[in-house]
């Protein structure tokens, strides 16, 4: 049996990481149900051994590594080098599709359309590129991405560059496309 303290601690941790873990898994697998199963299984496996590592320090990294392992076809890992091309959005401001509370209806419609375009553009990326770009967007370092995907840090950087480049080209018309360098 879990103690009340354990339930509280683990429950809070699950609630804090689940939304983005599920968003990540859903972008990599075919159906939301399957993504749910994958994330639940990864959380269970990770937390049943929560005494063996520092959950607060390493939990997120280990969770995303487990999700990546289950979701990504390793054979699709790419090794080609590409040049860096990145874009900056028109207002040089982070998009926030989720918070639409202060938007007019026409702006909400625009955001939804943009969200759909970004989702479609992400779906076109090979799984490893998609995973690398998404992990980077979630704030992971190149080294953390490499560990999550089981590749070298150099390859992680290449995947991020290449994914960004493809997205920038795909979303050029939507974002108004002023390109700029972004560090990996």
């Amino acid at each position: 049996m879990l103690t009340d303290d354990q339930r509280k601690r683990l429950g809070d941790w699950i609630k804090s990481v689940t939304p983005r873990a599920l968003a990540y898994a859903r972008s990599l697998v075919r159906t939301p149900d399957r993504a749910d199963d994958v994330v639940q299984e990864c959380l269970f496996r990770l937390l049943r051994r929560a005494n063996d590592y520092d959950l607060e320090r390493d939990g997120v990294k280990l969770l995303f590594k487990a999700i990546s392992n289950l979701c990504i076809n390793q054979a699709t890992r790419e090794r080609e080098l590409v040049a860096l091309v990145a874009v900056r959005d028109e207002d040089d401001r982070p998009f926030d599709f989720a918070d639409q509370s202060a938007l007019r209806p026409d702006q909400i419609a625009q955001h939804r359309e943009l969200e759909e375009r970004v989702r479609t553009a992400l779906e076109k990326l090979p799984p490893m590129q998609r995973a690398a770009v998404e992990l980077r967007a979630l704030g992971m370092s190149k080294e953390d991405i490499a560990e999550s995907l089981g590749i070298s840090a150099t390859n992680a950087g290449v995947l991020v560059y290449r994914g960004r480049k493809a997205l920038a080209e795909d979303l050029h018309l939507v974002l108004g496309g002023t390109n700029s360098d972004e560090s990996t």
């Binding site: 609630k15 939304p19 399957r34 199963d37 994958v38 076809n73 390793q74 401001r93 599709f97 997205l167």
Partner: protein, 313 residues
């Protein structure tokens, strides 16, 4: 650590756009449901711990020893029935539902002396996902890492290398090499369990552990297998759900040694009839070529799989 500390802000530009997309998706998630499910799983998995102190451990040990003594000398209760390997496989067969959509990852290792064309065609070493419902299945990615392929409810094999067109074959129309790949790469759990129960010796893979969530059974064919047949299998069955969590098949190949095919359960697919048909994997209005369009069908094979598929090995 707060969620924002766990997930630092993204850099401006493409990263921010991707982050916004992920956050939008995340905002639609009901994390409380997931929390409740995982905590319930952990509760079910948790066993009494003795870590609260040596004293408690000693008391528990003493109590256990006393109860054993009482049991042995005074009560002699009937031994708790433990399932046999055959019962484990039978329970998996009984619980198997032909209408459930199960997805497994699948990896395959060929014998080292396998002919290169076979290895190329079978995509040896590549991890794939196979979703099954009864004897229907769908494999993704498909041949050469492109598209999908599978078998529909009528036993027809289809290949959809792109979203622009697909090809469909009755089983009798399949080129021999493709028929072999279907046999090796496909998964029919019900048929497999029937075969295992009928023609295999069953034993525990390791000493059975009462507290383990799964049972592991090794199945060894009685007598020598013919080419293409399964020589041995290792099944891991969930004790509660009777679901097959993983499966390793050692299948005898025509040219030397067994191929090893490993399946690991990853989850249930959303019920979707089109998952097992080519129409579900091409864009609306795009063609599925069958025996009535043999030239175009052959062209799809040639373009995507090469001469080795069409002409055999």
């Amino acid at each position: 650590m707060t969620p924002s500390e766990k997930f630092p802000p993204a850099a401006p530009g493409i990263d921010a756009v991707v982050r916004a997309q992920l956050d939008a998706e995340a905002s639609r998630v009901d994390a409380a449901k997931m929390r409740d499910r995982v905590l319930a799983q952990l509760e079910a998995d948790a066993t009494p711990r003795t870590s609260s102190g040596r004293r408690f451990a000693l008391l528990a040990f003493a109590a256990l020893a006393a109860s054993l003594l009482v049991g042995v000398f005074f009560i002699s209760p009937p031994r708790q029935a433990m399932a046999t390997p055959a019962q484990v496989v039978e329970s998996a067969r009984e619980a198997y539902r032909a209408d459930a959509d199960r997805c497994y990852t699948q990896t395959l290792q060929l014998p080292v002396n396998s002919p290169a064309p076979l290895a190329l065609m079978i995509d040896s070493g590549r991890t794939m996902t196979i979703c099954t419902r009864g004897d229907r299945f769908m494999v993704e990615p498909g041949f050469g890492g492109r598209g999908t392929w599978g078998r529909d409810k009528d036993g027809r094999v289809w290949i959809a290398p792109t979203r622009d067109a697909a090809a469909r074959f009755d089983e009798s129309e399949l080129p021999p090499a493709v028929r072999d790949v279907v046999k090796i790469r496909g998964l029919e759990i019900g048929t497999l369990l029937d075969e295992v129960l009928k023609d295999f010796e069953l034993s525990w893979t390791g000493p059975p552990e009462k507290r383990a969530a799964t049972s592991s059974v090794t199945a060894t064919r009685r007598g020598n297998p013919h080419a293409g047949q399964i020589r041995a299998a290792e099944l891991v069955v969930d004790k509660n759900t009777k679901l097959i969590r993983s499966l390793v098949l050692h299948r005898e190949m025509l040219m030397g040694g067994p191929a090893t095919i490993t399946f690991k359960f990853v989850g249930n697919a959303k019920p979707d009839e089109t998952l097992y048909t080519p129409e579900g994997h091409i864009d609306a209005g795009k063609p599925v070529y069958d025996a009535t369009r043999p030239v175009l069908r052959r062209k799809i094979l040639l373009q995507n799989l090469g001469d080795v598929i069409v002409n055999g090995l």
